[in-house]
């Protein structure tokens, strides 16, 4: 005999109905929603990759940061994996290095191109870089394998380091050649365009200024600093919004806008050789990934990267098309 008066029982029944309705509703979220990756073509592996064992039953998620070079490298990886028969989840264009790194640490992404210098200082927290690219790579590879079960394949000769670029006219006016010459410029003209990540990293803006005898707030007033998105800095530097623009040395717009890159005599910046990085799980399961990526990595160097970046940033082509054409030209894809 239910002691609950009849009206309360209907209330209870109504509440459970509502609750279960919401739960069901929540579960049907996101069906059929892909990611921002969009389309990527595929072909047949050729040339040095012809004998790579197929990856037909593999599902691999490829991630990349959100600036042009990383997009191209990301699409190269996607096309290679698809051509090798793998099912690919396209997570290219992740905003920010650490998020991309975190996505791989959490296993949401299995393959990324990463820079040895960034890993050594930004992720592993070391303060002084190793001045030789192979030694730097080995140090990063060993630590990452031991601590984070990440496998660094052989790095490419390409070294995409941070630096500052100036307009040719500004360079001539103050005879600027190296980062040390910034001190020669009057305080008022020490204007910088940086993106938020660089402004805060340990291999970033403030430590670099200190390395070259400058200090943010005093010798370089805070209001001289403009934070912009990575890509926007080139145009800003070119139209004089700031005299010094933080650049990636392999960006295509440096050549196109005839900007002058200042050298790093004190070797403040570490070496940033790019290398394919795989989670140990996926690598153990498909060791042939090593043969798939390493030949391609060797074929990438600064000159090649600058050309590819320019095609996207200057000519406005889609990174996936640029990557595809390059792979065909090099014969990796037939």
């Amino acid at each position: 005999m239910s002691i609950v008066p009849r009206s309360c029982r209907t209330q209870a029944r109504r509440r459970t109905a509502l609750a279960s309705g919401t739960v069901i509703a929540l579960s049907l979220t996101g069906c059929g929603l892909g990611t921002a990756g969009g389309f990527a073509p595929s072909g047949d592996l050729g040339g040095p990759l012809a004998h790579v064992k197929p990856l037909d039953d593999a599902t691999i998620a490829v991630g990349s940061k959100n600036f042009t070079e990383q997009l191209i490298l990301g699409k190269i990886a996607v096309i290679l994996l698809k051509s090798a028969g793998a099912k690919v989840k396209d997570y290219t264009n992740i905003p920010g290095s650490s998020s991309a790194r975190q996505a791989q640490l959490q296993g949401q992404v299995q393959m990324e191109w990463e820079y040895t210098g960034t890993a050594w200082i930004a992720y592993m927290g070391h303060s002084n870089p190793i001045d030789n690219s192979i030694k730097q790579w080995k140090a990063v590879r060993n630590q990452d394998l031991k601590q984070n079960q990440l496998v660094w394949l052989k790095p490419s000769p390409e070294n995409n380091t941070y630096s500052f670029a100036v307009k040719q006219s500004t360079a001539k006016k103050y005879h600027l050649k190296t980062l040390g010459d910034i001190k020669k410029v009057p305080q008022k003209a020490r204007t910088f365009c940086v993106e938020s990540e660089f402004a805060n990293r340990n291999d970033g803006f403030q430590p670099m200024l200190k390395a070259y005898g400058l200090k943010l707030g005093t010798s370089v007033p805070r209001k001289n600093i403009k934070t912009l998105d990575t890509g926007a800095i080139y145009a800003a530097t070119n139209n004089g919004l700031c005299n010094f623009g933080e650049v990636f040395t392999t960006d295509g717009r440096i050549k196109a806008l005839h900007l002058k890159v200042l050298t790093d005599p004190k070797h403040f910046f570490p070496l940033y050789n790019v290398a394919p990085v795989l989670t140990k799980k996926i690598y153990d399961e498909y060791p042939q990934l090593k043969d798939l990526f390493e030949p391609v990595a060797q074929a990438i160097n600064n000159k090649v990267m600058i050309n590819l970046n320019a095609q996207v940033d200057v000519d406005g082509r889609e990174p996936v098309d640029v990557a595809n054409d390059w792979l065909h030209k090099k014969g990796f894809i037939k």
């Binding site: 109504r14 979220t29 069906c31 969009g38 389309f39 959100n66 997570y91 996207v312």
Partner: protein, 213 residues
């Protein structure tokens, strides 16, 4: 500009479909949640001020900040995007659903119950249909807003036309920066207007002739 679109029409179509799909699914979810909460709020008087306060505070949280908070919890991709859009889509619908349900004439409900309609039947056959026109108005406002909010989902790699805008941002100064941004922005506006027209049509079909204003 047209060359730009012709080259990428396949990807634009795919992203547009994804954008609409994200918003529509989120709107459906938001409607169910909003109506469920509205029912609770209208049946328990004292909940109402709390609901109003929450929706007032809710709206003040900037969408960009909320996305930031969702990233660590839900990772990247579709999940944070859906939650983001659903959160903002629910508020206008909830407000209108509450107004709609309160607007239903007390006598009608009493005569419905007096005729032997159980609470659930009364809700689905009397209270909901009568509150529907007002709720639908909230749905339209919410859809328009969600189409805009969904663009930010691109920052978490969510589906839709958002990535076009962010690509335009990263390539400022490049040849196609303007094209990317225009396709992203104008595309979303056009899709929003189409969705609005569809909702108007749905409204006409689902509102009974007796109460169509």
């Amino acid at each position: 500009m047209w060359q730009f679109i012709r080259d990428r029409w396949q990807d634009i179509a795919y992203s547009s479909y994804q954008h609409v799909s994200l918003v529509v699914q989120s709107i459906i979810l938001a409607t169910i949640i909003a109506i469920a909460i509205a029912v609770l709020v209208t049946s328990y008087r004292r909940l109402e001020p709390i609901a109003n306060a929450i929706s007032a505070v809710g709206l003040t949280i900037p969408s960009f900040a909320l996305l930031g908070l969702l990233l660590p919890l839900l990772g990247i991709g579709a999940a944070p995007s859906v939650v983001l859009v659903v959160f903002y889509a629910t508020l206008p619908i909830l407000r209108n659903a509450v107004v709609g349900l309160q607007g239903v004439d007390r006598d009608l409900i009493e005569s419905a119950r007096g005729m032997g309609m159980g609470p659930a039947t009364t809700f689905f056959r009397v209270r909901l249909p009568l509150a529907w026109p007002v709720t639908l108005a909230g749905l339209r406002v919410s859809t328009q807003m969600s189409m805009g909010v969904a663009a930010i989902a691109a920052y978490a790699l969510g589906p839709g036309l958002g990535p076009y805008i962010f690509t335009g941002l990263t390539q400022i100064g490049g040849a196609n920066a303007l094209n990317y941004t225009l396709v992203g922005t104008v595309g979303i506006i056009i899709l929003a207007l189409i969705l609005d027209a569809i909702l108007l049509l749905i409204g006409r079909l689902t509102t009974s002739r007796g109460i169509r204003v």
